[in-house]
Symmetry: C2
Subunit: 230 residues, 2 copies
Amino acid sequence: MSRFDLVAFDADDTLWHSEDSFHAGEQRFVELLTPYAPAGVDVKAALTAVERANLRTYGYGVKAFGLSAVEAAISISGGTVPNEVIGAILAGVRAQLSEPVRLLPHVAEVLAALSGTVPLALITKGDLIHQTHKIETSGIAHHFAHVEVVLEKDPPTYARLLSEVGVAPDRFLMIGNSVRSDVLPVLALGGTAVHIPYPLLWELEHVDHDEHVVELASITQVPGWLSATT
Amino acid sequence: MSRFDLVAFDADDTLWHSEDSFHAGEQRFVELLTPYAPAGVDVKAALTAVERANLRTYGYGVKAFGLSAVEAAISISGGTVPNEVIGAILAGVRAQLSEPVRLLPHVAEVLAALSGTVPLALITKGDLIHQTHKIETSGIAHHFAHVEVVLEKDPPTYARLLSEVGVAPDRFLMIGNSVRSDVLPVLALGGTAVHIPYPLLWELEHVDHDEHVVELASITQVPGWLSATT
């Protein structure tokens, strides 16, 4: 019936809000650090530079952000940032890891409708404990035949996942908000991908490319798009 | 030939050294913090208490340790710990995440011998990026038919993994250094488990129990034990 044997969704900013919390955390960091930064220092750019330098060591997620933020606070302030500010950064990390899942509009109803027609998977990268906590408390986990938290969403990772579940790349559809992580690596394998943008995108997820990318405005358009392409 | 369809190994302190680095990190923390702690404060106990309080939020691994260590440094010192000390804690975290894998003696040869007789799996908990990095650089990854980094090693997690690979619990053997994580949950499912102690065990891995546990002194005894139980 479907031309796909597996339809996979990204999670952060595709099924539930995520980047807005990181964005708020960055803004809080800028407010906290600005009094201790030399005049003319771009606090936000310095934080991102530390995150970028640590990406291969720390990976993705809130704990990685927290460690980089403390490091950046010390370096931006020239070693003068008070303990209270570092404590506030850590409190923000714990709050973000504990905050309830906030599903994007219509996600639950679209997944419920689709899950009756084709096997669904959830493929997300990030911090294992945080992503698992979000998946378990999301109320939508039961719609997914497969749930995978991966380190990096690159072609080898997608190829390994598809091999494990026995799905050919040309029978695989990936849906997500990141062209870099959800679209390009799947197209590279000969799969199909749909991009559903989220209003915010982390700077380190930006990518330049010249691929033709299918873009939908909302998850509510996925069932209609699937019917039209079958 | 084997009475098992899958033989799985834990990784940290079963295949390679791990706890000794955490232990060194704790000792460094105690040395760094003691000058800023009120007289009579047990710095190590205070650190462990913070780790315990954060375990459900941060999970296992070096990044979790780092965030808890910074938090503990601030609270133990009453907000007086210098930026240099916090910077040293963070530098230790990055160094631990980047240090080369140090295999335990005879691991490579035992895995090479066993992998020809029965499918092997590696099941580890901890930080996704750190464990993946260690597995990829260990030089022994090719011996494993399945590699799983999980959030918690409890009976539901083992049951899910066994179901995914289609192995009955009574045909499953787990080998590891933690009675709490590698032995008791597998016995609870009706599987078989072998305990190979490591000289150091993290305080939060200690468990009281009255199960009969098979204990071997070294991984070199696994092939002989397997032959004797077949």
